[in-house]
């Protein structure tokens, strides 16, 4: 047995040939996440201002999954989210940034986790989301018109959390997603586009949110998804590409939604995710040895949660929210028992 990830991955190989993954450095990850905010004024912080609200979602969710979050700053976080809202109901990525569906979703997700959805006018947000639907059922990301199945999922998820799916034409939304179903069983960003793990998550998520998973063959898609596992245990997003920790979410949650998580070699993937940690400074990277970032920290934690890793709170693969939050919101489970 040989660890096919990297040299200093932290895997422990025993004399009898068995192997443990690197230890999960929960406290270091917590410090890493909390440190992000203290980096105000650094180049990286300023460069990522436009997606600050998504960064908040990734950080808060990761801490929740690790069962390691204090709520002492909740008021401050909620106030920040609300300060990103516009008249039309949309949210921008940060203060004074234009409204966009991506950041509107992140805002709603953060408020859901912090139990502050009552602070917004759900009708107004829902109207904004509905305004982005196109005649062919697809969704634009904002008023400028970029079309992508990512936005179909964002719209549906946002409206599901707000319990206002009736604001949009759901059947038309579904039909556009189905048009993106490819010859290999996967989905792309628009009809004909290459099957991609991230896009598949969005399309399968959209079908799960609308109870339309029967429209696809779960065995065929499940096989394509299972094929993403490389010899080192990690998952890639497309054939013949390198593994990346974020696919531990996109691909794994897709499998969870169609009830086929067990088609992945669990132990091999756990070892890969653990190997992507920065054992010294905390955080999780895309690949062993690379620099950690909050995006991959969240997806690594989410992946471990789906794999039932010890000490992780459960995450809902369809809604990408802690199960505890989903239950509090009263949203029914839309995937088979994992």
């Amino acid at each position: 047995l040989r660890c096919l990830t990297a040299e200093r991955c932290g895997c422990r190989l025993y004399a009898d040939g068995t192997m443990d993954g690197a230890p999960f450095v929960r406290e270091k990850h917590r410090e890493f996440i909390l440190k992000q905010d203290a980096e105000k004024g650094t180049f990286e912080y300023e460069m990522s201002e436009f997606l600050r609200i998504s960064g908040m979602y990734w950080g808060i969710s990761a801490l929740e999954i690790m069962q390691n979050r204090d709520n002492d700053r909740d008021k401050e976080l909620i106030d920040f989210v609300l300060s990103c809202q516009h008249e039309d109901g949309s949210f921008g990525g940060s203060v004074d940034h234009d409204g966009h569906l991506l950041y509107t979703l992140s805002a709603v997700q953060v408020l859901a986790i912090l139990d502050a959805l009552d602070r917004i006018d759900a009708d107004r947000v829902a109207h904004y989301v509905a305004s982005l639907q196109q005649p062919d059922g697809s969704f634009a990301g904002d008023k400028w018109g970029e079309i992508d199945t990512r936005f179909s999922y964002c719209a549906l998820l946002c409206l599901t959390i707000l319990d206002r799916k009736n604001f949009i034409d759901v059947p038309a939304c579904v039909e556009f997603v189905i048009k993106c179903h490819n010859f290999d069983g996967g989905f792309g960003c628009v009809p004909g586009a290459e099957s991609h793990g991230g896009q598949i998550f969005c399309c399968v998520g959209a079908l799960a949110l609308t109870s339309q998973l029967s429209r696809i063959d779960p065995d065929r898609l499940g096989w394509w998804l299972a094929e993403r596992q490389t010899s080192g245990g990690g998952l890639n997003g497309r054939p013949e590409k390198l593994p990346d920790v974020c696919y531990s979410w996109w691909v794994l949650s897709s499998l969870a939604m169609i009830g086929r998580v067990h088609w992945i070699d669990r132990d091999a993937l756990v070892r890969y995710i653990l190997a992507c940690q920065d054992q010294d400074d905390g955080g999780i990277a895309d690949r062993p040895g690379d620099m950690a970032d909050i995006f991959h920290t969240f997806f690594g934690c989410a992946g471990l949660s789906l794999l039932g890793y010890e000490g992780m709170a459960r995450i809902d693969p369809v809604l990408a929210l802690p199960v505890e939050v989903v239950q509090r919101l009263g949203i029914p489970r839309m995937y088979p028992e994992i």
Partner: protein
């Protein structure tokens, strides 16, 4: 606004502002295209740059530079999802189908593992030609197999050949003898065994089903152990059918 973009091309608010400037001040759109080209090569994975390019091309109503432009991006990063998506958009919107098959052929000769190129080929074949003729299917299947023979453990042409065959009257059955030969020639190739197993499992004879079972179990225990659970599922599913 361009200074902001040059430092941080992912700042989507800056792009909105730029588009409003272009719209309201009557700028030379062709110059803007050149500007975006430089930026795309520097920031090839940035959604905003690509979307901006698309808007400019739409404004101009002229996509004649798009093939060259996307080809340059693809040369720098052959699997860039945005570049391929943009190329598909330009080809589909402006009817630029000519030369696309040859383009994918070229790229695949250089790197047969380029899944994006395989996908683009399928897109061109099925979008422009409508229904595929039997002779089209035959030549595409042979095209895929020629690449498989050179590198049998490359997933992409295996997916492609199935997609193409399924468009024909006889479905996967057309591939049977070729796949049998490949499975024998490359006994460690999991794709050959998987496809052969699938083809055999669809045949009605007890013998085919038994061989398919054997292949699935071989995949589970020897050739593709990381997906053991999946292969055991396939074997089990076949077993259940056999009982019926």
């Amino acid at each position: 606004t361009k200074e902001v973009i040059s430092v941080n091309a992912a700042n989507y608010t800056a792009w909105h502002y730029l588009r409003r400037c272009i719209k309201d001040t009557g700028v030379d759109v062709r110059q803007e295209l050149q500007y975006v080209e430089k930026l795309a090569l520097k920031n090839p994975k940035n959604y905003q740059v690509w979307f901006h390019r698309r808007r400019l091309v739409e404004l101009l109503g002229d996509a004649t530079q798009e093939k060259e432009f996307t080809a340059a991006c693809i040369e720098a990063d052959s699997k860039n999802y945005h570049a391929w998506s943009h190329r598909q958009w330009a080809v589909r919107t402006f009817g630029l189908w000519d030369g696309e098959l040859a383009y994918t052929q070229d790229l695949l000769r250089q790197d047969p593992r380029n899944n994006s190129a395989w996908n683009h080929r399928f897109f061109v074949l099925t979008a422009s030609e409508g229904k595929l003729s039997e002779s089209d299917i035959e030549s595409e299947v042979e095209f895929a197999f020629s690449h498989i023979r050179r590198a049998p453990n490359n997933e992409s042409p295996w997916n492609y050949v199935q997609g193409v065959a399924l468009r024909g009257e006889r479905g996967l059955e057309t591939l049977r003898s070729a796949v049998e030969a490949l499975a024998e020639k490359f006994p460690a190739c999991r794709f050959a065994q998987a496809l052969l197993g699938e083809i055999l499992s669809k045949e009605d004879s007890d013998e085919s089903m038994a061989r398919a079972q054997e292949l699935f179990l071989n995949l589970a225990t020897k050739t593709d152990t990381i997906r053991e659970k999946y292969w055991r599922f396939c074997a089990h599913k076949l077993g259940e059918r056999g009982k019926e």
